[in-house]
């Protein structure tokens, strides 16, 4: 046998291993950057916002005096917006996904819809704001109302709901459908009685992801015309409104540090809402994984 090639000799191997070790450290460091930034961000917001957080901060209305200002209209507006958005987007999104996954035959129409949904998922959110402004605020004359905002948000999260719901439906095994058909079920009985219930945990996860996206969105709502200074709570879908992210943006944009503290406190509230939503999503996902055994 000939001796091993020169490049595999021991000193060379040492050098190659050293280079590998250095690279591993570099790659690990790059990943740790994400953790460090996340920690810094949270600590920064906690440090600035925690002292400002109080019950009156949650129940007060905006004010010219930073110490008296609160987030009541923003909090109520955010909740109302999400409820309306969900009411609009969930039935539509789930229905569209069910059609694409369970009904549609391979045709040019299906292909066009699929490509279109993929492209819509990549459109910047501010463009949806311009759509909402041109279509809902002006053409449909809804003015700068909660409903116009919710319609805009519904269109924005629709691709996310459709893509996630399709994924969940696809995970239901063929055998489940075939068993139902063999028992004489019609297609709609198979879809709504067997497939959708089995995919429900996955669908929920997708919905929660979509809604947490909607809670955090700012830009499209600014374009649609949510205003930061609202001295009353919205009582109908046609009322003007504000939401938490817009209140935060408004306070960050002011020069006084006292308002920056308000912004940090409002961010804490926003993050708590988001965190609890996402925790729900994770619990649902885990429960789905445990309970579904095909």
């Amino acid at each position: 046998m000939s001796p091993p090639a020169a490049s595999y000799s021991a000193p060379h191997l040492m050098r190659r291993r050293l280079r590998g070790r250095l690279f591993e450290w570099l790659a690990l460091a790059s990943t740790v950057v994400a953790i460090v930034v996340l920690a810094l961000l949270l600590l920064d917001v906690l440090h600035d916002g925690l002292p400002r957080l109080s019950w009156s901060f949650l129940t007060n209305y905006p004010s010219r005096l930073a110490a008296r200002a609160g987030i009541a209209p923003a909090l109520v507006g955010s909740v109302a917006l999400i409820v309306l958005t969900a009411a609009l987007a969930l039935p539509t999104g789930i229905a569209a996904a069910v059609w694409l996954e369970e009904y549609a035959r391979r045709s040019w129409l299906t292909r066009v819809i699929e490509v279109n949904i993929a492209n819509l998922a990549g459109v910047p959110s501010i463009i949806y704001g311009l759509l909402g402004l041109g279509l809902f605020v002006r053409a449909l004359n809804l003015q700068r109302s909660l409903l116009a905002g919710a319609l805009t948000m519904a269109l924005l999260v629709l691709p996310i709901i459709i893509l996630n719901t399709r994924e969940a439906l696809r995970a239901v095994p063929r055998s489940q459908r075939e068993a139902a058909y063999a028992l004489g079920a019609t297609r709609s009985q198979v879809v709504w009685g067997v497939v959708v219930p089995a995919a429900l945990p996955g669908i929920f996860t997708g919905i929660i992801l979509a809604l947490s996206r909607a809670i955090g969105e700012t830009a499209p709502l600014i374009v649609v015309g949510a205003v930061a200074f609202i001295a009353f709570l919205p009582t109908s879908p046609l009322d003007p409104f504000t939401v938490l992210p817009i209140q935060i943006f408004n306070w960050v944009s002011r020069p006084q540090p006292a308002f920056h503290a308000n912004a940090a406190a409002a961010i804490l509230v926003l993050l708590v809402v988001l965190l609890s939503l996402n925790a729900t999503a994770i619990v649902l996902r885990d429960r789905a994984r445990r309970s579904l055994r095909w």
């Binding site: 690279f23 961000l41 600035d48 910047p124 463009i127 704001g129």
Partner: protein, 316 residues
Amino acid sequence: MITLPRPEVAAPRRLRARDLRRPLRRTLREWACELPLLVAALVSIFTTVGIVAVLAAETLAFFRLVPLGQFLTDTQWTPLFLEKHFGIVVLLSGTLLTTAIAMLVALPLGLLSAIYLSEYARPGVRRVLKPVLEILAGIPTVVYGYFALLFVTPLLQALIPGLAVFNALSAGIVMGIMILPLVSSMSEDAMAAVPRALREGAYALGATRFEVATQIVVPAALSGIVAAFILAVSRAIGETMIVAIAAGLSPTLTLNPLVPIETMTAYIVQVSQGDTPQGTLEYRTIFAVGTTLFMLTLALNIVSQWVLDRFREEYQ
């Protein structure tokens, strides 16, 4: 002999095609179930049509008053002043600058962390790191804007004397951090699709882990990684709140990252917030800017998809 009585059964009539068809009522019911679903699926088409129609109508109205040539070649952007200039290049340069800085942060860090997660990390480490990246991806952009303006900028000002309060540098860096999870998770997916056999073949030839990662896995996953990079650029161009908060609202034709600038997205926010009357020329500018933004991001998204489809390495 016993004769059994013949059973009184009518001879079966020949089966006709009609009998195999589903009853009309059932077909109708199925169709009534399907129709609303189809309409829901078509909402996505209407959305695209709506976006294009709204942008096109307002943009055409804009170009009836401002010639396209001026829009493309003017080097000033002052629609809100008395002496109006409409040079989109100014806003484009702001967008380009923040995007470039964001990419300098997001691409190397995203790719390296993807390599780490895919090729090095033990399962326990992965279980910690992946959710952190997911949380980072889920933080609202307005929060990143706060972080850029009130944490990163003061920090950088201590290091770089003369750094303005609003600047492209800190907005770009924070935007890069925001986009990092996208680059990382898409690249990691591409690397996970590289078959084990390729790695094992390289190990069998005596390659080190580093050599397998950089000379086998990354080249094999290149189409997915490039697609991730392009999508990241598109995301950075469309990102709004970080730049609106931290990069400034002063349209400047510059590539200096230390001074205030304005991006296309920030301009749309600025006008939307103000009290510019609807229907005026100033107001129409946001749709002209929106159209530019929409076409840019759409082109990048299509190229990204094309790279994925065209250069995908099919294994097995």
